[in-house]
Each structure stands twice: as C-alpha cells, then as structure tokens.
C-alpha cells in the first residue's frame, strides 16, 4: 500500500527526508 500526500505550502517549505529513507508515524517530513 501507498500513501500520496499533495499539499500547498510556502515556497520555503523543505522536506527533511531522503528518497528511500525509512520513516515512522509522526516523524518529521518537512517544515516551513
């Protein structure tokens, strides 16, 4: 299964993850 998130955010929004990285619920994905 897969979850796709699509969202509007300020241009300075930055992801704090890497492609292929394992992640858990509640872990930081990105921030403004």
């Amino acid at each position: 299964s897969t979850i796709v998130l699509v969202f509007e955010a300020p241009k300075n929004f930055a992801f704090d993850v890497q492609a292929g990285q394992k992640i858990k619920v509640g872990q930081r994905l990105g921030d403004v």
């Binding site: 299964s1 897969t2 979850i3 796709v4 998130l5 699509v6 969202f7 509007e8 955010a9 300020p10 241009k11 929004f13 992801f15 704090d16 993850v17 890497q18 492609a19 292929g20 990285q21 394992k22 992640i23 858990k24 619920v25 509640g26 872990q27 930081r28 994905l29 990105g30 921030d31 403004v32």
Partner: protein
C-alpha cells in the same frame, strides 16, 4: 534428443488447450477494455472531451499482471486471512511472519500474540501508546514506510518515479457533476480545464512516472447514492472521465451539532497546539452532537489552520496561492509495516472520493515499471485544507491490501464484490456536517485516521 524430437508423437490434451484458450480470451478482453475506446485518439492520450486517458502502460510483465483477476485474488487473500487460527499456533505463526517481514513485536499493543485471532487481525494491529512520538514540524509522516519520492508539482503532474509522471487531475478529480450516462467506462480520463491552479498542474509518481491531480483525486460527481444513515455527510457517485455536467449529488439530513462559541473561546492556544504523543489522539469517529471534546478538538485544529472559507472551489479543489508551491510525497508501506495511517498535519478533511480501480502491487518494482500506477489502483482521495491552503491525502490500495478503512467514515467500502463501476469513476462523501465550525472533519497531527486491511 534428435530421435525424440523426430519420433515422439504429439498428443494434444484438452485441458491445457482449454486453459490456454481461456487465458487468450482474458488477455484479449483486458486489452480491449483498457486500451482502445477510440483508436484515432490513442496517440494523443486524450478522449473526445480533451481529457487525459489513463491506460495500462509498461513492459510485458505489467500486461501479464494486468490480465490476472487481481481484485478477486485480493478478496480471496483477505478471506483466507480472516480465518481464526488455533490459539496454540498464533505465537509461532506470527513470530515467523514477523521474522520474515521485519515486524517489531516489542511495540505492538498486545504482547500476548494469542490475542490476535487471525493474520488479518495481526496485520491491522495497533501500537502501544507512546510508540510513535509526534514531531512538532508542520508535516509529519502519516505512516510507517519508506519514502519513494517527493518534490514539487510541476505542470500539474506528479512524478511517480524519475521520468514517469501522472496528472493531478487524475489523482484528485474535479468537482463538476455529471450523469452516469456520461461516464466513459473504457478510460480513466479527467478534465483539466475546470481547475484554477495558478501555474504548474502536474505532479510526480516515482523516478519520472507522473500522474494528474484529477486522476489521483477524482473529477466529476454524478448520481446520488442512498442517504447516509448517520447523517454526517452527503454522498454521490462520480465520474472523473467526463466533462459534460448535469447537476446531481444529494445531501442528507444533517447531524444537529452546534458547538458553543464560549467553549471555543475557553481553549488555550498553547494547550491546543501542544504536540501529542502517539496514542493520545482522540477517537477519530464522527463526533456526537455537542460533545465538549469534539468542540475542543475542532477548536484546536481551527487554531492551527484558522477558520477560513473552504478552499475547494475548483474542480480538483486546487486553487493555490501564487506565493505557494504544490508539494507531494509518496510513502510506501511494506507488508511488515504497521498499516494504520495517521493525520500528517493539522488539517480539515472536507471530502473523500473513493476511486474504483485495479489492485496492482505498489511495490517500488512496480512503481518503476507501471506508468500511472497510483491512478490505476483503487484509492481514496481525501481533500481538505490546512493553514497553508490545499491539503490532499491519498491512501492507495494494492493486491494484498485492497481494503482501506477510515475511522470517521463507516460507510466507505473498498474492494467490494458485485457490479463494478467503470474505472475512473468515484463515489464522493462530503464531511461538511462533521464540524459546523470548520465545515469538515478536523484532524490533529498524529491522529489515527484509518488503515489498510488484508484483502
């Protein structure tokens, strides 16, 4: 060998011939159903209305998989895994499963494995309170898994993998109502022209595979469905493939909720915005009328996102502020992962669109090969808003996990038997009655939303 080649008589057995013939018929049927509604338009990948046509595209193995009855296999898989296992077998069986698929048994809610009656029950396990601390960032992971891809949406296309993209229109759909007769059953096509997105209208699938927002989230509403007994939302069946509109859709009796302004005012913003630990979330079911906890919950999300008019004014609900960008991320859940999903931010879900579709595997192997994977598969598009504007979340089903559950939407039924609706169509529920303040279902970061079940 030469002697055997020359002298061995050929005997044609009826059973293999029959099976082979059946397979050819199935492949031919599948090919005709997915490939060629209009040959003249095939090169353009659009239908007569100018909508993008989503078809099965990929190497040979993808087409072989496409010929299989994946939905029936998925339901059979779910049925088999619903059987109650003998109590003596459960600890050993689940430990073997956990070893194979990498489950961490130390963090599950019930350490006594005999508590889980079946593999399906174990698969949909909860975790202990506090097992997943929620970060204070504006966006947190909604699930355990692996980041397949992330980035910004360019030209309304989402990149599935490098070079393979899909349309946002396909992902979300647009909102123009249409009649069932206007459904283009052979294609999954979506009208882009109703969107009011400022510039880029596209998104990514993984390493170059992308899809449309409308394809992912749905397009047009059509015939009304039966009234919702809970009265919590209105529902209509929709097609994302047609642009001809005729108003339909229906509303159901609303639940008599009216949170008092004084209760909202009494909430401390600091208290409201305090990050919650996993397991501290409220019950995510549709609230009962006038409950203080629900009012507080609504107020807390309102404090985060601000109580604003809904932003879903365009076909896919995508009207972006020119100062903002559209971002996307794709998270893959492996079979051993915890399969409940949580709210990734403080946001309000305004509507959900359940797209009928296939149930291909969504593993990275398939994502790199099957274009439009995430808009071909059955999925539930959740559309809403957060403090920065539009917010959408799409749980996509797969062969082993075709059932998607939403805690706050008990009427949602995915991967069901019976007469299938045409691919690309969807049923829609609007959660405007879930909160009279926010006109949607408010969710905190980390709040449990639902999950994926076997089959």
């Amino acid at each position: 060998i030469a002697d055997a080649w020359r002298n061995t008589p050929t005997k044609w057995y009826p059973l293999p011939i029959f099976v082979g013939a059946l397979l050819l018929v199935a492949i031919n049927y599948r090919h005709r159903r997915t490939q060629s509604p209009r040959d003249g338009e095939e090169k353009m990948h659009v239908d007569r209305d100018g909508n993008e046509v989503i078809r099965l595209r990929g190497p040979l193995q993808v087409h072989v998989l496409g010929a299989l009855p994946l939905r029936n296999l998925s339901r059979l898989w779910g049925y088999l895994n619903s059987f109650e296992l003998p109590v003596w077998f459960r600890p050993t069986g689940f430990r073997v499963y956990s070893t194979i698929f990498g489950c961490d048994l130390t963090e599950i809610e019930h350490s006594d494995l005999t508590h889980y009656k079946s593999l399906g029950d174990f698969f949909y396990r909860r975790l202990k309170d506090g097992a997943r601390p929620i970060d204070s960032a504006v966006l947190v992971s909604p699930a355990d898994g692996r980041i397949l891809h992330f980035g910004t949406v360019k030209g309304l296309r989402v990149e599935q993998v490098k070079g393979l993209t899909y349309s946002l229109d396909a992902l979300f759909g647009s909102s123009e109502p249409s009649t069932p007769s206007s459904v283009v059953s052979e294609t999954i096509a979506f009208a882009n022209r109703d969107h009011e997105i400022v510039d880029d209208e596209e998104f990514a699938n993984v390493n170059g595979i992308d899809y449309s927002l409308d394809q992912l989230f749905g397009a047009h509403a059509t015939r009304p469905s039966s009234p919702d007994p809970s009265g919590s939302f209105s529902s209509s069946s929709s097609s994302s493939s047609s642009s001809s509109a005729s108003s339909s859709g229906t509303t159901t009796p609303s639940s008599p909720r009216s949170p008092s302004p004084s209760s909202l005012d009494d909430m401390s913003v600091e208290e409201i915005n305090k990050p919650r630990k996993f397991g501290e979330q409220h019950d995510a079911s549709v609230p009962q009328p006038d409950t203080i906890s629900q009012v507080s919950h609504d107020a807390s999300v309102a404090a985060d996102i601000g109580v604003r008019p809904p932003l879903l004014r365009s076909s896919s609900g995508l009207r972006t502020n020119p100062k903002n960008d559209l971002f996307f991320t794709v998270i893959y859940l492996a079979p051993g992962d915890y399969h409940r999903f949580h709210s990734p931010a403080a946001w309000v879900v305004e509507k959900r669109r359940h797209f009928m579709g296939e149930l291909f595997s969504v593993s990275p192997y398939m994502a790199k090969r099957l274009q439009n994977l995430f808009v071909l598969n059955e999925r539930v598009s959740l559309l809403g808003r957060w403090k920065h504007g539009f917010f959408g979340m799409v749980p996509v089903g797969a062969t082993n996990v075709g059932s998607i559950l939403l805690n706050f939407d008990k009427d949602l039924r995915t991967n069901v038997r019976g007469r299938r609706q045409p691919p690309g169509t969807f049923t829609e529920a609007v959660y405007t009655k879930a909160s009279s303040v926010l006109r949607g279902k408010p969710l905190r970061p980390g709040e449990e939303m639902g999950g994926f079940c076997l089959g």
